[in-house]
Subunit: 195 residues, 2 copies
């Protein structure tokens, strides 16, 4: 298991000693998730925070008509999962699965609780992490409520520049909240200039 990515991630916000690093790394669980397999399914209770180290995951909800709505894409370096389920230990309203063969590291909730007490720096780290995520979710809300599909697509391109060629258009459409057919038409009608 390779913990370097998550350690680098953490060190952007707090500075750890070698012992603290060691203590922390020993708590990390590792998991491989093959394409189309689940990290978590709707209805399950999330076991703890998960951090992507390789591949590509997505979290999404399923509406009463069976349609999927992507909440978040998670390339390496991103955290992923249903926060509500994790925080309140209630059944998840989101599913998380892999769009490519992937790997995550994660921690048991009980270990996280102990970690916060033993090394308060991690409490700080997760506070900062949560605030940043909150800011991102707030911005997404504004985007969905205030902008037409075309600009939501532009926002998507800005947020996930590395995923633009990689991701099936279908997934992008689900993320910005339109049908695949509509996204296709949208992209091909604003392109009436090249040949």
């Amino acid at each position: 298991m390779d913990a370097s990515l998550i350690l680098e991630h953490i060190s952007r916000h707090v500075t750890l000693t070698d012992e603290e690093r060691e203590y922390f790394v020993r708590l990390l669980q590792h998991r491989v998730i093959r394409k189309k397999q689940f990290l978590n399914q709707e209805g399950e209770v999330v076991k703890g925070p998960a951090f992507v180290t390789a591949g590509l995951l997505r979290s999404y909800s399923i509406d009463s008509n069976g349609f999927e709505h992507v909440i978040q894409f998670a390339p390496p370096g991103w955290w992923v999962g249903d926060i509500g389920s994790m925080v309140f230990q209630r059944p998840s309203i989101l599913s998380v699965d892999a769009l490519e063969d992937s790997e995550v590291v994660w921690m048991r909730e009980a270990d996280v609780d102990r970690l916060f007490v033993d090394i308060p720096k991690f409490e700080r780290f997760f506070r900062i992490l949560s605030q940043n995520a909150l800011a991102a979710h707030q911005a997404r809300l504004v985007s969905i409520l205030s902008l037409p599909a075309k600009q939501r697509y532009a926002n998507f391109c800005q947020l996930y520049p590395s995923l633009i060629g990689v991701l099936p258009q279908k997934q992008v459409a689900s993320y910005i909240g339109v049908t695949p057919e509509f996204l296709s038409k949208m992209l091909n009608s604003s392109n009436r200039s090249s040949m």
Copy 2:
């Protein structure tokens, strides 16, 4: 200034000593905001976290056509403001104003930073607060992406039961993401049963 509401709010998650309480209360700023006046305007940098002690506020964005989109209502006991602006000290994308004569308590960012160092319990409190808010925002995202207007209205009623008679329908419409006209029609057409 009355700090009892915010102290009660905090004590739900962490336990403070008398000295800590005192230290904390001395950092609190107080502000009265009359109806239609601003706590913050789009473009300003948020000075620090704000907690509503009386009245009713709302945060909202303004789109390119000049239309308002309500992100959150904030009755007493709620925190309010543009988190992105607060965390990153960048210009706000939201405005916050008062729907009724209101009062808030708030803290300067610099004081908050010192508070986290001096009394780590507050770092914990704000971590928990941020995680809860994150869970709420995530649920709202799911609601907007996955549900038709009717169910979004039902969700609103569940989240803000105390505001149902109080709030102008116009504001509710803006919150659930439809026009006032449409909300009016929606409510009056599902009521074809009473006389």
